[in-house]
Structures are given as structure tokens and as C-alpha cells.
Amino acid sequence: MAEELVDVRNLGMKYQSPNGEIDAVRDVSFTVNKGEFVSLVGPSGCGKSTILSIISGLLKPTSGSVRIGGEWVRGTSRKVGYMLQKDHLFDWRTIYQNVLLGLEVRGTLNRESRERVLGLLKTYGLYDFKDKYPNQLSGGMRQRAALIRTLAVNPDILLLDEAFSALDYQMRIAVTDDIYGIIKSEQKTVILVTHDISESISMSDRVIVLSKRPATVTAIHDIKFNLEKRTPLACREAQEFPGYFNTIWKELDVHV
């Protein structure tokens, strides 16, 4: 039986501001097993990022709770790596200095962790660029550097918030494949947030469909492909793909 790693229970979030109250998330529950790749899909502005922020511990929910590996989430957890929409590499740091950022902040920068990071840079083809500055790298390489920065702190769970949407379409398909490969070989548990249905189907073991704001869970789909070696690109070509796409498309109920 699969081991349950993340347990999101009856999550609710109401933002308060002088102009009023925004009901962003209402009664959202789901679980994620170890090693699983789960996507949250929903219309824009429905509260996806809010859910991720709560799981990461950056944001406190107004109701409900999150447990990771059985522990209640209070503040940011060392088990969680969060990748934001843009790479946010610091242009005053070299690539190497950039990927060490998380270790510096957590105070776990030592010879061993440096070795690990150098290993990651080697494995994923950035070693030769480690002394370059971010503006000397292509968009895809920057994204990879951002992922390595997240992996450097060795999290069990990766939270990806529209991690590819800043890239143009061609690049995005390629980077998705690239990053997917890295995540799988590092055997991470992933929660990906996106409003791109194809992206969610092509990468995930499970897709959680969210309603318009306030976000509630509309449906949960197990995604299975009959493929020898699963890659996002191969999934997009697979015969099961259109079926999943149509179902989720209808559930999202997009009106123009």
C-alpha cells in the first residue's frame, strides 16, 4: 500500500483586506502519496497558489489543516521545496552561488552539501556554467538552475507553482520533459499547480480539478498511460490523452 505523505484536510482560506474579504479556498481535502506526481488544475484566480502557499507553510489557513509525514505544518518545513512561477535567479550571484542560496539560508552549507550541489550541477548539465551569471543562460537552463536550487536543500516534496508558464510554448514543452526527467530520477513527490490541462495530464499520476473561486475540489482523476517509458511528450501523443483532456475540459467549465 502506498505511503501517505501529504494530507490536506478541509482547507479554507479567507483573505482579509481593508476593501473586504476574499473567499479564496473552501473545504479542500486531498492526500498525496510518497513518490506521486499530483496536479492541481483550476481556472485562473481560483486559489491554486493559495493552496500551495498553505502547504509550504508560508501562509496560515483560516480553517482546516495540512499534515506532512504526519506532522502538522506550522511555518516553512525543511521537507518542502517550493518552486515559483519565475526562476528568480539573482543576477548578482553566479549560478553556483544561486543554487547554494537555500543551503545558506538554512545554515546547512558545508563541504558535504556543496559536494551534493556540485554533483547535481554535473548530472544535470550545468557544471560548466556554474560560474556564469544568470543573464548568460538560456531560459531552459535558468529553469533547470532554479530546480537545482530547490533540490539542493534535498526536500522530500516539491511544490511547483506554474513553474513553466514564464517560458514560451516550444521551450515549455522541452523544459517540461527535462524537469520531469530530473524529478523522476530524484524520486521526489510533487504537487504541481497549473491552469494548463495538457501539462497536468502529461506529467501527473493524478489530477485534481478545482472549481472557480472559492476553490473546491470538483473531481479527482487517476491518470494512466500504457507506455513503456513515460515522458510528458510521449503522453501528449498517447491515445488516452484526448479522453482525459475532454473530461477535464468539461469539468473546468470554461466560459468565454
Partner: protein, 276 residues
Amino acid sequence: MSDKQEPALSRERAEYLRKVKIRKYSIFATRILILVAVFAVWEITANLKLVDPFITSQPSRIIRTLVNLYREGDLFRHIGVTCLETVAGFLMGTILGTGIAILLWWSDFISRVLEPYLVVLNSLPKIALGPIFIIWIGPGPSAIIVMALAISLIVTILEVLNGFLSADPEKIRLVQTFGANRLQVFTKVVLPANISSVINALKINVGLSWVGVIVGEFLVSRAGLGYLIVYGGQVFQLDLVMTSVIILAVAAALMYQGVVWIEKKLTKNRQIYGQL
């Protein structure tokens, strides 16, 4: 990427580079020419009594004044006093201003509370405070330095704070995802992202410190370039006034170049604050 292995320049490229060079030199030459022309016209019209050298002074008299000041051993004393006061005011304004900006960035509450006071102090002509400083501190270099500080401090605070507040919130969020505390947010993101606004504040400060020091010297001093100017005016010795103004211009320009040099060092050597 190195220039060494570059293939032979195309003819068009060489032509273009030649033009760029010629333009650069002609701009430089014209600048020198203007300077020489102004001094020449000044000297000649004064010699021909087209203008009254008693009122306008003239370059040869300025040189004579310089030499006299030097002979009497006063030249470097006056320059030294003024420069020292300016550097002191400048350093204090920069350090104190940046420090207070950090405090205000740290606490949104304090920043909100102090906002109206800063606005009022910023619009107040600080020169009006001169007599107060003199009475409180006593006439002398300290009062002059405080004057320079008063003029540059508020501007520094506002300039640097604005830079700090404009730090990308998403970058701040990024370090927070690693569990960064407020100090780490500051040292890892806010400060290195804003080295340039701190340096801009430095540049503004150089000019303001000179203003403060000269005003201060007008009011109280027994030495310094500001004193020479006031004294020269009182005894109607325009040679002394003009000489002092020209020394002042050179000194101020040199100090500004110093800051530009620091800026170049810092931005060239990004490693330095990459380590922060």
C-alpha cells in the same frame, strides 16, 4: 568571447570604429577648447579694460592669488579644513542615513509613524537651522559638520528606503520558502538588489555635503573655502572669491569622481556582494 581570437575586422567595421573614435576625440577636444576660450576671453577683456578686473577678477590674478595663498602657507590649510568637514559630513550622512533607512524598512510601523515628520523635515530648508546648530554646538567645525549632515541625512534616508522597498516581493518570497528570517531577507535580497540605490544616494550626498559645509562656513568659520569666499566678499577682493570658487569646483569634482570610482569597483566585482 575573448577579443584575441576575433577574426580580421571587416572594412565596414573598421570604418565604423574609426568614426566612433574620431567622435570621441572631437568631443573631448571641444570641451578643452571651450575651457581655454572662456579663460582667454576673460583674461583679454580684463586686460583691455573692457570689463573691470576689480569686479570680475581675471585668470592671471587668480593664479597670483593662488601663489600668494600658497606662500603664506594658507592654501592647503583652507582646502584641508573644508574637505575634512565635507568628508565627515558625507560619511556621517551616508552611514546614519542608511542605518535609519534599514530601521524604517525593518519596521513598517515605525516607518508609518515617522512618515509625516520625514516629509516636513525634507521640505524644510535646512539652512534655516544653521543659527540653532551654532547656538547649541558652538561656532566651529562641529556645527559645520552637523549642518552638512542635516542637509544630506533626510534625502539619504528617503532615497535608500525607497530602494529597499522596491525590492522584488517575489524574490523575497523565494528566500522565505527556504525559511529565511527578516535579517536574511535583508542581507540576501534587499541589500544586494539595492547596492545601486545606495550608491545613488552617495552621489547625491557628495553634492549636498558641499552645500552644507559651505553654508556652515559662511555662518561661523575662521577657516576654509567658504570662509575665504565670505571674507573676500566682505573686503571686496573678488580675486580671492573667484580663486576659492575655482578650487571648490575642482575639489567637488574630484570627490564625485571618487564615488564614481567606488561604484565601478563595486559593480565590476559583483562577486563581492554575491557573497553576502
